[in-house]
């Protein structure tokens, strides 16, 4: 596979390490009254979609960017590649 890195252009997938569902960005608030349940869901529950899937890839043999790659699990077509920092900020994460 080839991942079109937003900063570095097309790179072979062998340069990357795969982590999993991009929902791992949405780490719950530790002070939430339901923190234990929410952390459980965050850690253990994953969708396994047929079709587009947003997932985290780490450019370990490269610039060490974490990327959010939108990939079709059926065709392996890559629809979108974003820097995880941008996605995290869009999802309200900051400090």
């Amino acid at each position: 596979m080839i991942i079109n890195h937003p900063l570095l252009g097309p790179r072979d997938a062998a340069e990357f390490v795969y982590l999993g569902d991009a929902s791992l960005i949405d780490r719950p608030d530790w002070q939430d009254p339901l923190a234990a349940e929410k952390f459980h869901d965050y850690l253990y529950l994953r969708d396994n979609p047929v079709g587009n899937h947003r997932e985290l890839w780490y450019h370990e043999q490269g610039d060490r960017s974490w990327l959010v790659v939108t990939r079709n699990t059926l065709t392996h077509e890559i629809i979108k590649v974003e820097l995880a920092t941008d996605v995290a900020r869009k999802r309200g994460r900051s400090r």
């Binding site: 596979m1 234990a36 780490y58 392996h76 995290a88 900020r89 900051s94 400090r95």
Partner: protein, 982 residues
Amino acid sequence: MSQPHRINGGLTDRTQALHFTFNGKAMQGYAGDTLASALLANGQRLVGRSFKYHRPRGIFSAGSEEPNALVELRRDAHCEPNTRATVAELFDGLEARSQNHRGSLEFDLMAATDLLSPFLSAGFYYKTFMWPKAFWEKFYEPIIRASAGLGRLSGQSDPDFYDKGFLHCDLLVIGAGPAGLAAALAAGRSGARVVLADEDFVLGGRLNAETMQIGGQMGSAWAAAAGGELAAMGNVRLMPRTTVYGAYDHGIFGALERRTDHLADTTGAPRQILWRVYARRSILAAGATERPIAFANNDRPGVMLAGAVRTYANRFGVTPGRRVAVFTNNDDGWRTATDLAGKGVEITAIIDTRKIRPLASIPGVVIMTGAHVTGTAGRKGIKAITLNTGQRIPADCLAVSGGWNPNVHLTCHQRGRPVWDNDISAFVPGGDLPPGMTVAGAANGTLTLAAALKEGHATANAALKSLGFTPSRSQAPVAEDEPRTLEAFWHVRAGRGRAWLDFQNDVTVKDVKLAHQEGFRSVEHLKRYTTLGMATDQGRTANIPALAIMAECTGKTIAETGTTIFRPPYTPVPIGALAGRARGKDFRPYRLTPSHKWASENGATFVETGNWLRAQWFARPGEKGWRDSVDREVRMTRASVGICDVTTLGKIDIQGRDAAEFLNRIYANGFAKLAVGKVRYGLMLREDGIAYDDGTTAHLAENHYVMTTTTANAVLVFRRLEFARQCLWPDLDVHLISATDGWAQFAVAGPNARALLAKLVDAPFDISNEAFPFMACASLSVCGGTPARLFRISFSGELAYEIAVPARFGDAMIRALMAAGKEFDAIPYGTEALGVMRIEKGHAAGNELNGQTTALNLGLGRMVSKKKDCIGNVLSERAELNRPDAVRLVGFKPVDRAESLAAGAHFINRGDPADMDHDQGWMSSVAFSPMLGHSIGLGFISRGHERMGEIVRAVDPIRKREVEVEITSPHFFDPEGERLRV
């Protein structure tokens, strides 16, 4: 050395005779021959025995689809079994042997297996040899395994080497037949970067095997000229002897180039190269493969594909027989007759299944239409054929044509499924092709020459346009389309004897019918039940006829019956090529510490820790075993001073205004208030609350920290920190860089550690206990200006420091340390002594942080802050992880101090049975303590912290040992920690 079957013409170089042997017999061929064509030229019809029944078999095809002619090439360690003689290029001195027979090829002792065939039908594994059950593993299976089989491996290490390569192109053209050449010419002339790959060693594909003309010249001459034009273009890379074996995601192709397989002397060059080709567009022009017609005893040597017979005659100047008969269901078979007759070979009969007007008349040839071949005669090579009329016709070669199957394989490597084309009675590429791929020529079902040339040309131009190139104005080469009508006809019903479909795996028409009868009707079931198409040739000549027969049985159409899924590789890829240079130790090269050279000069024994090679101990003359050395290293370190290379620990440089806050969230314990110049031990949890890694982090300067991780987790912790920084808290001002390789680091431990280092530290730095107390750190210089970092931390429990210098000074540093330590009798110590000392001190290491233990289990529960957000603290509070009877890390001493302990033993209370229900915990680390004079252990036991002094059993059922142990504090040596603070 005559070649009785050599005839005039062809592309071999008659001026260049090549000598080779087959089963030790000297033979001769010419440059440009394959082993198969040379064997045929020498009259060698019998070349192998079939896999299951040991039936005599001959060369069947002229290409990579060959099911029969598998041979061993070369000798000793260079021997390669299961090579197809039909693609092996002949060279001078080649040694070839037939395989899968006991005794000689001619008198195979295993041929009796054929007599047992009634018991060996499809699925016989599951039927005949079921009883008695115990016999399967010990008796039946070994016999079956020994009797069936292919070639033998040499059992020696492969002396050749293999490379890997990467190619990028605008257009990859797969196959250099007429369509591929036309496509490559069009693309090359437009200026696009083109790779043209073909599995053959001569470009042209079928053009070299036929007598058709292009632009007024012979097809083979046109192909050679086209190859010359392409070779002269700087933007085109010609890759003969290269099989594109797989189409992968995003325009990536796997290709195997056989670089020196055809050379007698291969020294210095890689044997094969595994290419990864990145292509923006691709054209599959892989041609088509002819399929046979099944009839009784159609597997005898001399029965061949009609197209292959033409190949041998036209390309190699070899006739496979003196009296050739043709059996066909299409126009193509007739060309075999006319081509061979044109070369003076006697044609005895043309049998066409169709009731048509004869397409040719050759004097003296029996021409039968609407007729079938119902059998053959001749055990080790056919002598005659029998027709459905009862007529017997002499023939030593029967050329069979059942039509052509487009080589659609690569179109199916992703999600594509081929579709049935009634016009040519074959599967052609369907939808869902790999992105960027188009198909041209016979691979696309375009089976005639002029149309294939046009399609190749047009397909290339379309691909070029889509890439933004302007196609050249050149026209497609001009040729004529040959007649190509066909009647779907798969097998002859009449006749006695088995009719073979899969020659390599010995699957017959009857086996397919049996599979149907027993309910294995889907093509995937048929394949697995009968092993159809599961041999090294993947059933390239067998699958479609077998599907057609299954379709007949079920009353469905072939389109409804479908095909099995085509997966890479198209033809076998040697494991050696996949491994490339990554063999033996090169698979995972060692990482060496900066003191490695010094350590090897000083008698170190090394141990692999991950990729690192670390000194395990330093034996001295007179020491009888490793324990002597390790015990001495511990004693001398604790008595005076010892030095250990700890470079392998992961080091992460952390900087930024929010570095402290970041660390505070990464570690379970507090880091927000760590002062500059101080070091703190930190424990990391996983998000699920399990302990993950530990180490120390030093606050070197404002907003600047250096973290150490365990050796094993150096890469993983760094990855995790980057995840936290980028994905969880993107606006924290913190930056990371891995510094593991950048710094050489040495532990200097023992009562004289300070005195030793004082000699090396540059003035005015003060390392007195007052100025530089336990857990202090500083940047400084040593040895007269070498930059260094000093940490007063201790894993051994002694007064100890770790000193780091830039890695390039590591070798000089160990030598300086040892020289300075001479007056103190300083010694180097290895990982074993390191381990003994940490067990004496009760420090957890990899055996304790094993991915199953929590901070509570490790006795570090109070370190986990509940007043801050950090990775893992929420789920570390789960009830199950905090049960009152949770295991706790404690120490263990054998009640009988003379006993040794074993890690992995499980604790059982006295009087309880030793079973899982009564399991109390386990021993994780053990050592002989030279300081205490007996064995000690660390381990986890339920409520351990409340059970000091209790005696339990350490049961080790695997090693059949049991030792009574006393539960103690894990701090065996200097429990108050007085030594490290002096």
